[in-house]
Amino acid sequence: MDTELFLIRYLHVLSGIMWIGILWYFNFVQIPSMPKIPDEQKPAIGKVIAPEALFWFRWGAFFTVFFGLALAWRNGYLVEALTLEQPNIGFGMWLGLIMAFNVWFIIWPAQKIALGIVEADAALKPAMARRAMLFSRTNTMLSIPMLASMISVQNPIM
C-alpha cells in the first residue's frame, strides 16, 4: 500500500515536472526568443524542436492528471477535493484539470495547424499560433496558484 502510494505520487511528480517544465520552456524561453532568431533558422524550431517538445508536453499533462487522480482516489479524498470540501488540494486539482483540457483540446489542435503538422488554410496559421500562445500563457498564469495549492497540502499557507 505504502509502496503503491509512493510510486503513484512519484510518477505524478515526474510527469508534472515534464509538463510544467516544458510549459515554462515555451513561455520563458522559446516564445520570447523567436523574434531574435533569423528567418532561415526558424524552421529548426517550428519543424523539429516544437513538435518534439509538444509530444512530451501533452503526454506529460495526460499522465500528471492520470496519476494525480489515481493518487487522490487511492488516498480517499478524490470527491472531497473535487467538491472543494478539501479546498487546498481541490483548487489545485481543478486548475490542473483546466490546464490539461487547454493542452489537449485547444493548444495542441491549434499548434498542429500553426506548425503545419496537419493540412490547413495558410491564412489560418497566424490566428492558430496566437490562440496557442494565449492559452499557453493562460496555463503559465494558472500554474502559479496550481503549484501553490499542491504544496499547501503538506505545508499549509495559513
Binding site: P87, R137, M141, I144, A148
Partner: protein, 48 residues
C-alpha cells in the same frame, strides 16, 4: 485579458494575484466548514 497574457511579466503578476485570492478563499471555505465550538477554539488559538 489578452493584453495581460501577451506580456510575460504581467502574466506572472496575474498568477501571483490569483494565488493570493485562492489562499483567502481556501481559508474562508475552511472557516465556513467549522462547527461553532471549533470556530471558538480557532479564535482563541489565533488570539494567543
Amino acid at each position: 485579458m489578452g493584453k495581460i497574457l501577451e506580456s510575460l511579466p504581467l502574466t506572472i503578476v496575474a498568477g501571483v494575484v490569483l494565488t493570493v485570492i485562492m489562499i483567502f478563499v481556501t481559508d474562508a471555505i475552511y472557516d465556513s466548514q467549522m462547527s461553532a465550538p471549533e470556530a471558538a477554539i480557532s479564535d482563541v488559538m489565533n488570539n494567543m
